[in-house]
C-alpha cells in the first residue's frame, strides 16, 4: 500500500520526465503552430526516411555484433594498461563529427593509410565514399559506446556466479549459455537502441561520406525545409517522423530485452575465468583490431593538429575556458536528471524511459526554433544563448547517461530495493548510503560522457548564438569557414584533448569511488 502511495505522489524523476516530454513535443508544437499546421512530405523526403532507417539499423547491428567479442575480451583478460585502453577506446564517441570525418578520411580515404598499404601489395583501393563509408563512420563513432555498455553488463554479473559455474565444471560454452547470453539478452537491445537512435539523427557524417544525395537523412531534409524552403510545417512533420521512429524502436527493444535475474553478489573483485587456448588468441585479436580501428584515425587527427597548438590565438583559449565551465554545468544537470529518471524507470514506469530517450531523436533545429518562438516574447535570445546551450547540451546528453544508468539502477532496485525499504532508508540518506556508492561507476561514466558531449556540441547556433562569447566548437567552425584549416586542425586537437580530459576525470572519479 505504502509502495503504491509513493508511486502516485509526484517524484523528482516523474517531474523530470514530464518536463522532457513538454520540452521536446512542446517545441515541436510551437513550430507547427507557427507554420499553421503540418505539411505533407514529398517522394524525396520518404526516400530520406527510408535511407535513415536502414543505415541506422545496419550501423547499430554492426556496432553491437562487433562490440560483443571486444567487450568479452576486455572483461575476462587482465593486462598492463587495460584501464587506460578502456578509457581511450571511449574517445571516438566524444569527437566532434567534422574532426572524426577528417580522421577517418586520412586513414580510409583515397590517399589514406589503408589504401597506401593495399596499393603496396598491388591490391585494388577501397572507397570510403558511399553507404559503406556512412556505416564505417557510424561504427567508428558508436562502437565505443556499445563496447562500454556491454562491458558494464559483463561486470555486473556477480563473480559468485562464475565461481559457481567453475565448481560445476562449466566450460566456456556452458558459461556462455547460462551466464553470458542471458546478460546479453538484457543489455544488447539497449545498446543497439542507443546506437540506432544516434544514427537516426546523424546528418553531417552521412553527407560527407555518403558520396551523394542518396545518403540523405531526415535531419538534412529538416535543414533544407528550414533554410531554403522556409517550410516550418514540413520541418515539424519530419521531426514528428523521427519521434515516431524512436517510439517504435524503443517498443521493439523493450520487447526483446529480458532481465537476466542474476541477483546480488558480494562485490568480490575476482577476475572472470579466462579460458586458454585459441580463445586467448581470439581475445587478443579482438582487442588489437578494435584498438587499431578506433585509435589510428584519432592519432591521425592529433598528428595533423598538434604542431599548430602553440600558435592558436588567445581568443580560442578563452573560448576553451568558457566551454569547460559550460560543459561541467551541463554534465551536472544531465547527471541529476538521469539519476532521478533512472530510479523512476527502475521502479517500473516505462513511459519515463521513452521520455528520457526522446532528446536523441529531437531535431536540434526544430527544438531550437521552438524554444526561440516560445522564449522570444519573454527575453532576448542573445542573452539566453549560453544558458540555452548549456540546457540543450544537458538534455541531449541525457539519453546516453540514462542508457548507462538504467541497467545499474534496475539491478540496484531488484537486489537492494526491498532491503532498503524494510530498513526505512529513503531520501538523502538512501542516496548517500546506497544509490551513489552502488552507482558510482556508471555515474562516473555517464558524467564523463555528458561533459565530453557538451564540450563538443555546437548547440543550436542558427538561432541562439552569442558571438561576443563564443564556445570552442563555434571557434572551430569559424576557423574552418575562414579558410584556416591548419588552425582548425589545432583547435580540433585542443577540443579533443579537453573533451577527453573531462571524460577521464569523471570516469576515473566514478571508478575510484566504486572501489571504496
Amino acid at each position: 500500500m505504502a509502495q503504491r502511495l509513493r508511486q502516485l505522489s509526484p517524484s523528482p524523476g516523474g517531474l523530470a520526465a514530464g518536463l522532457l516530454v513538454l520540452l521536446i513535443l512542446g517545441t515541436l508544437a510551437a513550430v507547427a503552430t507557427h507554420a499553421g499546421g503540418l505539411s505533407a512530405l514529398g517522394p524525396w523526403d520518404w526516400r530520406a526516411v527510408w535511407f535513415t532507417l536502414w543505415q541506422a539499423a545496419l550501423s547499430a547491428t554492426v556496432s553491437a555484433v562487433l562490440a560483443v567479442p571486444v567487450a568479452r575480451a576486455l572483461a575476462r583478460r587482465r593486462f598492463g594498461g587495460r584501464a587506460l585502453l578502456i578509457t581511450l577506446l571511449g574517445a571516438p564517441f566524444i569527437l566532434p563529427v567534422i574532426v572524426a570525418v577528417m580522421g577517418l578520411v586520412s586513414v580510409f580515404g583515397r590517399n589514406g593509410l589503408v589504401n597506401d598499404l593495399l596499393g603496396a601489395f598491388g591490391l585494388a583501393p577501397l572507397s570510403i565514399y558511399g553507404w559503406q563509408g556512412v556505416i564505417l563512420a557510424h561504427v567508428f563513432f558508436n562502437l565505443p559506446l556499445s563496447v562500454r555498455m556491454i562491458l558494464h553488463g559483463w561486470q555486473a554479473i556477480p563473480t559468485e556466479r562464475f565461481r559457481l559455474a567453475a565448481s560445476l565444471g562449466f566450460g566456456p560454452g556452458d558459461i556462455a549459455r547460462h551466464l553470458e547470453r542471458p546478460m546479453l539478452r538484457e543489455v544488447l537491445p539497449g545498446a543497439w537502441l542507443a546506437v540506432f537512435l544516434v544514427c537516426l539523427t546523424s546528418f553531417a557524417v552521412a553527407l560527407a561520406l555518403g558520396g551523394g544525395p542518396g545518403a540523405t537523412t531526415v535531419e538534412l531534409a529538416i535543414y533544407q525545409a528550414f533554410r531554403f524552403d522556409f517550410d516550418m510545417g514540413k520541418a515539424a512533420t519530419l521531426a514528428l517522423v523521427q519521434v515516431g521512429l524512436c517510439v517504435a524502436a524503443l517498443a521493439l527493444a523493450s520487447r526483446v530485452s529480458r532481465p537476466a535475474g542474476f541477483g546480488a553478489g558480494l562485490d568480490r573483485d575476482t577476475p572472470l575465468p579466462a579460458p586458454a587456448g585459441w580463445r586467448r588468441g581470439a581475445d587478443a585479436g579482438a582487442i588489437l583490431l578494435a584498438a587499431g580501428f578506433l585509435l589510428v584515425p584519432m592519432l591521425a587527427v592529433i598528428l595533423q593538429g598538434a604542431p599548430g597548438l602553440a600558435g592558436l590565438p588567445g581568443a580560442v583559449w578563452a573560448a576553451a575556458g568558457r566551454s569547460v565551465v559550460m560543459a561541467l554545468i551541463s554534465a551536472m544537470a544531465a547527471l541529476a536528471l538521469a539519476l532521478a529518471l533512472a530510479q523512476v524507470i527502475a521502479g517500473g514506469r516505462a513511459w519515463a524511459e521513452l521520455a528520457g530517450m526522446l532528446p536523441l531523436v529531437a531535431s536540434p533545429l526544430v527544438l531550437g526554433t521552438g524554444l526561440y518562438l516560445l522564449l522570444r516574447p519573454l527575453v532576448s535570445p542573445t542573452a539566453l544563448a549560453l544558458p540555452v546551450t548549456v540546457a540543450i547540451n544537458a538534455v541531449m546528453a541525457l539519453p546516453f547517461a540514462l542508457r548507462i544508468l538504467i541497467p545499474a539502477a534496475r539491478s540496484l532496485q531488484a537486489d537492494y530495493g526491498r532491503l532498503a525499504d524494510s530498513l526505512g532508508l529513503r531520501g538523502l540518506a538512501r542516496l548517500r548510503l546506497l544509490t551513489l556508492p552502488r552507482l558510482a561507476r556508471p555515474l562516473g561514466f555517464a558524467g564523463g560522457l555528458s561533459a565530453a558531449l557538451a564540450m563538443g556540441d555546437l548547440g543550436v547556433i542558427t538561432l541562439f548564438a552569442d558571438s561576443r562569447n563564443p564556445t570552442l566548437p563555434l571557434k572551430l567552425y569559424q576557423l574552418m569557414n575562414s579558410y584556416r584549416m591548419g588552425d582548425a586542425a589545432a583547435c580540433a586537437v585542443l577540443l579533443m584533448a579537453i573533451s577527453f580530459a573531462l571524460f577521464w576525470l569523471f570516469d576515473r572519479g566514478g571508478r575510484i569511488h566504486a572501489a571504496l
Partner: protein, 326 residues
C-alpha cells in the same frame, strides 16, 4: 558550482560602447576575429556614435520567424538565392544609395538589397597535384573519371545551389541532365557545407573543389602559397554576391541609412578583400592588394534574376536528385 555559474554570467556581460545600440543580423562566420565583422564594427562605431551589435545566426530564417517584431535594424550577409523571399516578406526598406558606380561584372539596380562583396563559383585545384586542369565546363565533364571533385549539397549550401544554376546556364535545359550524368562519376562526395569540402581538398583527398574564383587569394595573401588556382572556364562562371538591407521596422532609420552609406564607403570596401576573401562591390582594382587584382577573372559572368532562379530551383533540384538516385 555557484562560482562556475557566476563566471558564466560575468562572461556574458557585453562590452560597453557609447550611444544607442544598433543591431545587425549577420551570418555566423561574419563576427569572428577572422571575418570582416570586428573591423566593420570598429569602423562604423567611429562615425555613428552608437554601439553596433552583431547578432549572428541564420539571418533570413530568423528574421522571417520574428516578422515585424524583430529587433534588427539592419541585416548583412543575405545570399542572392534569398532575395525573392526576403523581398516578399515586406520587412525591408529601400537602401536609397547611389549604386551606379559599383565595381561588379553586371548591372545591379536593386532598390532594396545592397551588395557589399561578390565572387564567382569556380573549381579550385592545386598545380602540384593537377598539372593540366580543364579549361571549360565541357572539358571537365569529359575528363577521365579518376579526376575527383568535391561539391556541396544544393539543399544545404549556397554554393551548392549556385552550381545547379551555373550548370543549367552552361548546358541549357536540354543538356543539363546529361552533363550531370557525366559529372557524377567524378564526384567523390557531396558535403553539407563549404568548409568540409574545402578541408577535403586541402587534405589532398580530392583534385578539385567547388569554391570561388577568389579562394586562391587566401592562400597567396595569408599563406604565401601560390600553388592553388581557380580553373577558369570559357563558358563563364556564376556570380554570387552577399547583400545587406535595412529593416523597415527599425526605430533608428537614420542610423540604418548611415550604415548603408558606410557599406559603400572606401573604408568598408577597402577591408573586404582580405577580411572576406572576395571582391568588394565598390572599389576600383587599383585599390585592391596587387595579388588580388592580379587573380585571373572569367571573361563571362553568368547570373539569373531572382524570379528565374527561384522558378528553376525546385525543378533543378529534382533533376539533380534523379541523376543521383540511380
Amino acid at each position: 558550482m555557484r562560482h562556475a555559474l557566476l563566471a558564466l554570467l560575468a562572461s556574458t556581460t557585453p562590452a560597453l560602447a557609447a550611444g544607442p545600440e544598433f543591431t545587425v543580423y549577420a551570418p555566423e562566420y561574419f563576427a569572428s576575429e577572422w571575418g570582416p565583422g570586428p573591423k566593420i564594427e570598429a569602423g562604423f562605431e567611429a562615425i555613428c556614435d552608437c554601439d553596433l551589435v552583431f547578432v549572428t545566426g541564420d539571418v533570413l530564417p530568423r528574421i522571417l520567424l520574428e516578422g515585424e517584431g524583430t529587433k534588427a535594424d539592419a541585416v548583412i550577409g543575405l545570399s542572392m538565392d534569398q532575395t525573392l523571399r526576403a523581398r516578399d516578406s515586406g520587412l525591408f526598406a529601400p537602401h536609397v544609395q547611389d549604386i551606379s558606380g559599383l565595381t561588379m561584372p553586371l548591372t545591379w539596380d536593386d532598390p532594396i538589397f545592397l551588395p557589399f562583396n561578390w565572387s564567382e563559383t569556380a573549381f579550385i585545384y592545386d598545380e602540384t597535384r593537377l598539372a593540366d586542369p580543364p579549361h571549360s565546363f565541357h572539358e571537365l565533364i569529359e575528363a577521365p573519371d579518376d579526376l575527383k571533385i568535391v561539391i556541396q549539397d544544393p539543399r544545404s549550401s549556397v554554393s551548392g545551389l549556385a552550381l545547379l544554376m551555373w550548370m543549367r546556364e552552361v548546358f541549357g535545359s536540354e543538356g543539363n541532365a546529361e552533363a550531370w550524368e557525366k559529372l557524377k562519376p567524378k564526384i567523390l562526395t557531396v558535403t553539407q557545407g563549404w568548409s568540409e569540402a574545402y578541408g577535403m581538398f586541402t587534405e589532398g583527398e580530392a583534385d578539385m573543389v567547388l569554391s570561388f574564383t577568389t579562394s586562391p587569394a587566401y592562400h597567396i595573401g595569408a599563406e604565401d602559397d601560390a600553388t592553388k588556382h581557380a580553373a577558369i572556364f570559357e563558358e563563364g562562371h556564376y556570380l554570387l554576391a552577399e547583400l545587406a538591407a535595412q529593416v523597415k521596422t527599425s526605430d533608428q532609420p537614420e542610423l540604418a541609412q548611415k550604415f548603408m552609406e558606410y557599406i559603400l564607403s572606401p573604408d568598408f570596401q577597402g577591408m573586404i578583400a582580405e577580411a572576406n576573401w572576395s571582391y568588394p562591390s565598390k572599389l576600383p582594382d587599383d585599390r585592391l592588394p596587387d595579388y588580388f587584382a592580379a587573380l585571373p577573372r572569367p571573361a563571362i559572368t553568368l547570373w539569373l534574376p531572382e524570379d528565374e532562379a527561384e522558378a528553376l530551383r525546385k525543378p533543378l533540384l529534382d533533376e539533380w536528385l534523379s541523376v543521383f538516385a540511380n
